[in-house]
């Protein structure tokens, strides 16, 4: 009789352990988030300009690597004053202005450029991209594009500037973005296009 009761206790404990394991597994599945390392930079690319562009002073100025100059241009942040220019461009677009500087809006939609503009130095000295702020600028540009088109709807003589056609292509790509908010705003802007 005692042996039978002992077996019952052991089975109960085993069942409890199994349920505990199952609960732990489910909770882990629910709450586990993989840690994603923010994209880091070894250092601001402008620090390496002299070394890359003029590797040796022996043959200056013929030693300048013009291809490197071009490549560096693709890694640098926008020229100072970009936040002023961006705000002015989006405000002009929201007003439905005929003189919107579309090149600034196009720059705002360039994800890589926005990342470069939002470099942040952490306390440990590493440089990372503030991705959320970078995408906030892109969303702001998309909203401004949509607002400009809404304003132009009542204009019978409306024309689509050439630069805007290039922006249409960029927005088309952004409608497939993996970031929900960006995708949603791109789709909203896309729905207002004149084509």
């Amino acid at each position: 009789m005692a042996q039978k009761e002992q077996g019952l206790v052991v089975r109960g404990l085993l069942l409890l352990a199994a349920i505990g394991g199952l609960v732990a597994f489910v909770l882990t599945l629910l709450f586990w988030r993989p840690y994603t390392q923010p994209p880091t930079l070894a250092g601001p690319p402008e620090y390496s300009i002299p070394a890359v562009v003029v590797p040796s002073l022996s043959g200056f100025p013929s030693a300048i690597s013009w291809y490197s100059v071009y490549q560096l241009g693709e890694t640098l942040p926008s020229a100072p004053g970009w936040n002023v220019r961006y705000n002015a461009a989006t405000t002009l677009a929201r007003r439905g202005s005929p003189s919107v500087p579309w090149h600034s809006i196009r720059e705002m939609l360039d994800e890589k450029q926005q990342m470069r503009n939002q470099r942040v130095r952490l306390a440990d000295g590493r440089y990372v991209y503030d991705e959320a702020t970078a995408r906030a600028f892109m969303i702001s540009a998309l909203r401004a594009i949509a607002a400009w088109h809404e304003q132009q709807k009542s204009n019978p003589k409306r024309e689509v500037p050439t630069e805007l056609r290039e922006i249409y292509t960029i927005v088309d790509k952004l409608t497939h973005s993996e970031f929900d908010e960006l995708k949603k705003q791109a789709e909203k802007a896309h729905a207002t296009f004149f084509r």
């Binding site: 100072p80 004053g81 461009a89 003189s99």
Partner: protein, 308 residues
């Protein structure tokens, strides 16, 4: 067995106790005393509601903001901020009260002018001092600066833009010995103008009765005298309903876009960026040209050293 059945039979013969009419004391215990308790509770509730309501009157906040005691001032400021920053329609009682807005604008104007005087005095002391820590003297103005910052933000939360002329005066002031403090004050004034512009757009959505009441009070204030307060009321009417401007038309009206055109030339880059944003809310004949200029900004900037 026989004795038990005999006992039961005896009990059933006794029946229910005799019914007696309730006495006066019993009725008092049953109704009057609970009634008194409820009466006292209701009186206490009404009294506390009245006291709380009284504490939330604009006059109460103004008294607290005028206090010499910094703690009382900040408690009042904190309580008022809890109301002004809330979006619920119930807060319209304060946010659509033009007299309250004018009273706060008066206090901001006074506090700003007083601070400028103090800055001159402290600036003179710093210039004459040879102490290596002389820049710490600016700390004396911290409370007054904070008071101006608070009022700057507060006037931007009303539907009547009566505080716009004072904010424009703060934005145009570009010659303080306290360079850093002045720049931060201008940033805050620009943010307040942006909020004010947003609230100005919200004016169309407030109930008709409150809208008409707001305009009537502003008309009354605008026609009252030729003082600064009348000019601020006229400025608000200019932006809310130009047809409501009293005789004398544009006298005393401050146009916000003219100030924005001036701040578009500021040396501070962040202030220029905010200026570009402000044109979303404040239109004017030079808005387009100014924005086109800002669209080609080259990024010149002032360098603010950490001095205190």
């Amino acid at each position: 067995m026989d004795s038990a059945s005999a006992n039961n039979a005896a009990k059933s013969d006794q029946g229910l106790p005799p019914v007696q009419p309730p006495s006066g004391r019993f009725i008092a215990q049953l109704f009057v005393i609970p009634g008194l308790i409820i009466f006292v509770v209701v009186i206490l509730f009404i009294a506390s509601t009245f006291l709380v309501r009284h504490e939330r009157e604009p006059a109460h906040f103004l008294n607290q903001l005028d206090s010499d005691n910094a703690d009382i001032r900040w408690r009042g400021a904190s309580d008022l901020a809890q109301i002004l920053k809330r979006p619920e329609p119930a807060t319209l009682r304060w946010k659509a009260d033009p007299k309250f807005a004018l009273d706060l604008a008066e206090r901001l104007d006074l506090a700003f002018r007083r601070l400028l005087e103090e800055e001159k005095t402290v600036g003179g002391q710093i210039a004459a001092s040879t102490d290596k820590d002389k820049l710490l003297l600016w700390r004396k103005l911290r409370d007054d600066r904070d008071h101006v910052y608070y009022l700057t933000g507060a006037v931007g939360e009303f539907h009547a833009p009566v505080g716009a002329p004072v904010l424009c005066a703060i934005l145009k002031h570009d010659g303080s010995p306290d360079v850093k403090g002045n720049l931060l004050r201008r940033h805050k004034a620009m943010w307040a103008l942006i909020n004010m512009g947003e609230n100005l757009k919200g004016f169309a959505n407030i109930p008709t009765e409150q809208r008409q009441n707001l305009l009537a009070v502003l008309k009354e204030e605008a026609a009252a005298s030729a003082g600064a307060r009348a000019g601020w009321a006229r400025t608000a009417l200019f932006y809310l309903d130009k047809t409501a401007l009293p005789s004398g038309g544009m006298q005393g009206v401050v146009k916000v876009d003219e100030t924005l055109v001036a701040t578009a030339d500021a040396d501070d880059r962040f202030l220029r960026a905010l200026t570009a944003m402000s044109f979303n809310f404040w239109d004017g004949e030079n808005a387009e040209a100014t924005l086109l200029k800002l669209a080609n900004d080259t990024g010149r900037d002032t360098r603010i050293e950490k001095d205190d």
